[in-house]
């Protein structure tokens, strides 16, 4: 804590020194912006073991001070307790940044994305409790050359530490010391190529023992753009060397790699994107798969999932948890607008593990052996834990005031159990979302979202087939109020909450265009929530929630 306070004081002193120097020669341009987020909730959380009281209070105030070419930022955070993740009370973010023409330097906390994230994609997702924030120094230089400024260069180097708290076990923190660099060069509009390199020393705890690792990741990428076509390809290779310890008595240095490709074509009224992924950062036998495995894809590696991101509740209910260590797949997404009133969106994706495994030990022990195959494409066989989805949606504006949207989705997600194939987790769902929106008297709006879902869950002891239905009715008055009611029902006899109906009322009030208060009361069904391919289970909740969002620019 003293370290953080010291760094902040030092940053402010440095900033003021530079500012007064600037002031003596130039006009001092000072500006401040701030934003604030307050979240509070109290109620009962339903879990398999019973009902527990749930209470959270989170307050985040971000203030940015701009002085000529300098920016200083501070986040004050007060979690008592936090809803998800590891809570903080005090200054949780601080930085100083200098930006002049093509040059940017930043000291303190930051996030960074290199290319498509195969080497580095540090980000925060508060709804999951995920945070891969750096504390260090980052320098970026970008410049355009040539008469038409078509030749472009961008380069970044960074170094610093990262304390990654396991979002599913907040008592477990992985510590990394990272140095990395990235560049991209575009000699012409049609061609861009680049590369990145990352080195890290890390300590990954498992129980009372931490495994020390030293990892290197190399990445190269190529982008092409011609007329309506765009293509991008990225390949990364990683080596992780572990020091021997009580758990792993011998040092190991396995290699892993990952590839991502994208091809898109667009013209007015039409756009198609085809994506391909082949992530093999830690191909291991089923008994070695673990979130504490020291040779795994590192938490700051987060590449494209190539599966659709859904926005409505039931469509998002059975997501696929992407395994960046062992997954191959592709996705196709099409947008088509035959006219101003009608838009169509179609999506299909298929993803699976690379290989099937067999237990080849004839005694009572287990020894898995890989069944080799050409694994450049996913498989639909259950042994490969496949996930596939098809989604179609049509949006129609009947008039300026009336909009309708109708979709249909089919998904299957299989988590294969090699020990007992009969107990594999198989979930199939068929979902139809419908939305009707009508605006009247210019400022009043009414919106109905109705979703119907049929599901099959192989792990249900009784009836494995059940349905769920969710209806949201909202009435709004622009620019300040939205009043909503959400009703969800099911005939599922084995829902973890033991309930068959959930109702929640919500009020959104914008007291200015950038200051909003949201209050809700009632019950929520919970389920798996995902962000960037990372998922967590959220327990059903019954109670009161308050969110206050302020922006001051």
């Amino acid at each position: 804590m003293n370290k953080i306070k010291g760094a902040v004081v030092l940053s402010v002193i440095v900033l003021l020194c530079f500012s007064s120097d600037v002031y003596s020669q130039f006009k001092l341009n000072v500006k401040v912006s701030a934003n604030n987020l307050l979240r509070y909730g109290i109620g009962k959380e339903n879990s398999v073991t019973g009902d527990n009281t749930k209470k959270y209070f989170e307050e985040l105030a971000d203030v940015r001070l701009f002085v000529n070419d300098f920016t200083a930022g501070i986040r004050y955070e007060y979690d008592d307790p936090i809803e998800f993740g590891k809570g903080t009370k005090g200054i949780s973010r601080r930085y100083v940044e200098f930006k002049k023409d093509d040059f940017t330097a930043r000291a303190g906390n930051f996030y960074e994305l290199f290319a498509k994230g195969l080497t580095l994609n540090a980000f925060e997702s508060r709804q999951l409790g995920w945070n891969t924030e750096f504390d260090g120094v980052k320098i970026n230089y970008k410049h355009s050359f040539g008469k038409k400024k078509q030749v472009k260069f961008s380069g970044t180097i960074l170094g610093g530490g990262m304390n990654f708290t396991d979002f599913l076990d907040t008592a477990r923190t992985e510590v990394y010391s990272i140095r990395a660099g990235n560049f991209s060069f575009s000699p012409h509009k049609v061609l861009t190529f680049g590369g990145s390199y990352l080195y890290t020393d890390g300590e990954l705890p498992s129980g009372n023992t931490a495994t020390k690792i030293h990892a290197e990741i190399f990445e190269g990428n190529l982008g092409l753009s011609f007329k309506g076509f765009d293509a991008f390809f990225s390949y990364a290779n990683k080596i992780t060397i572990s020091d021997p310890n009580a758990i792993y008595t011998q040092s190991k240095a396995p290699r892993g790699d990952g590839a991502y490709g994208m091809l898109s074509y667009t013209r007015e009224g039409f756009g198609i994107t085809v994506e391909y992924k082949n992530y093999r950062f830690n191909l291991v036998t089923p008994d070695q798969r673990s979130s504490t495995n020291p040779w795994k894809a590192l938490p700051f590696q987060n590449s494209p999932s190539t599966i659709k991101v859904y926005s409505t509740t039931l469509l998002s209910r059975f997501p696929h948890n992407v395994d960046f260590n062992d997954e191959v797949g592709f996705g196709v997404d099409v947008f088509y607008s035959p006219g101003d009133k009608l838009s169509l969106n179609a999506n299909a994706s298929l993803t699976s593990r690379h290989y099937d495994y067999r237990d080849v030990d004839s005694t009572g022990l287990t020894r898995y052996e890989r069944v080799d195959r050409t694994a450049y494409l996913p498989s639909t066989s259950n042994e490969f834990s496949p996930y596939w989805e098809v989604f179609l949606e049509a949006e129609y504006y009947a008039s300026k005031t009336l909009k309708t949207k109708l979709g249909v989705s089919r998904k299957t997600n299989i988590l294969y159990s090699i020990v007992d194939p009969g107990s594999s987790d198989i979930i199939r769902s068929f979902t139809v979302p419908l939305e009707v929106q009508y605006t009247f008297s210019k400022v009043y709006g009414i919106k109905l979202v109705a979703e119907f879902q049929e599901a099959y869950n192989s792990l249900r002891a009784g009836d494995k087939n059940y349905w769920s239905q969710l209806t949201t009715l909202s009435i709004s008055r622009s620019p300040s109020i939205i009043l909503s009611g959400v009703l969800e029902t099911t005939n599922d006899e084995e829902d973890p909450s033991g309930k068959k109906a959930w109702f929640k009322g919500e009020l959104v009030y914008k007291f200015t265009s950038s200051n909003t208060v949201i209050v809700s009361y009632g019950s929520e069904r919970g389920g798996i929530q995902c962000s960037s391919g990372i998922c967590r289970y959220v327990n059903p909740f019954n109670g009161f929630r308050l969110t206050l969002i302020n922006n001051f620019n």
Partner: protein
């Protein structure tokens, strides 16, 4: 509670004293890889920056409205820039979505959300309206059906600011 009171006072102080401040410049790539510099766009007139993502439904509803308003006021100098904060998982769908809709306004990529964060964005849809002097004229968080009337009136007001 004492700490919270301090935060509230601190934030309110800055809100009152430093509103309508001038914001930082940025240089982001558009859908064709060309640079778009905020300071260059401000020379044309007031600029509305809408931070959005392909998975954000209200963002796309607001975008349809802003596209119509852009068509109505672009000849008067109004500039609308759609800043995509889609990250690596959905950024490949930005260009196909925009082109399929036939939208002609400027769209730029802010995949690492650096510009979004520097403008104080928390969740999309979030928009910052800058007058032609680069001062923050309005910020908008969220979108409600019927907001087009309010946006229309704000654009007309912004077009009057700093006009010679």
């Amino acid at each position: 509670m004492k700490k919270l009171s301090i935060i509230a006072v601190f934030v309110s102080f800055f809100a009152v004293n430093f509103s309508y401040s001038q914001m930082s410049d940025f240089d982001l790539n558009d859908l064709d890889g060309s640079s778009v510099k905020l300071s260059e766009q401000l020379k044309k007139g007031p600029v509305l920056l809408q931070f959005w993502a392909t998975w954000c439904i209200p963002c796309k509803e607001e975008m349809k409205v802003l596209n119509e308003l852009h068509g109505k006021y672009k000849d008067s100098g109004f500039v609308y820039i759609a800043v995509s904060i889609d990250d690596q998982k959905s950024v490949s769908k930005v260009k196909p979505f925009i082109e399929s809709k036939g939208y002609k306004f400027i769209t730029v990529y802010d995949s690492d959300k650096n510009v979004f964060n520097s403008f104080g964005g928390q969740d999309p849809p979030y928009s910052v309206f800058l007058d032609r002097n680069g001062n923050v004229f309005k910020t908008y968080s969220g979108y409600i059906q019927g907001d087009d009337a309010k946006l229309d009136s704000d654009i007309r007001e912004a077009l009057k600011i700093g006009k010679n």
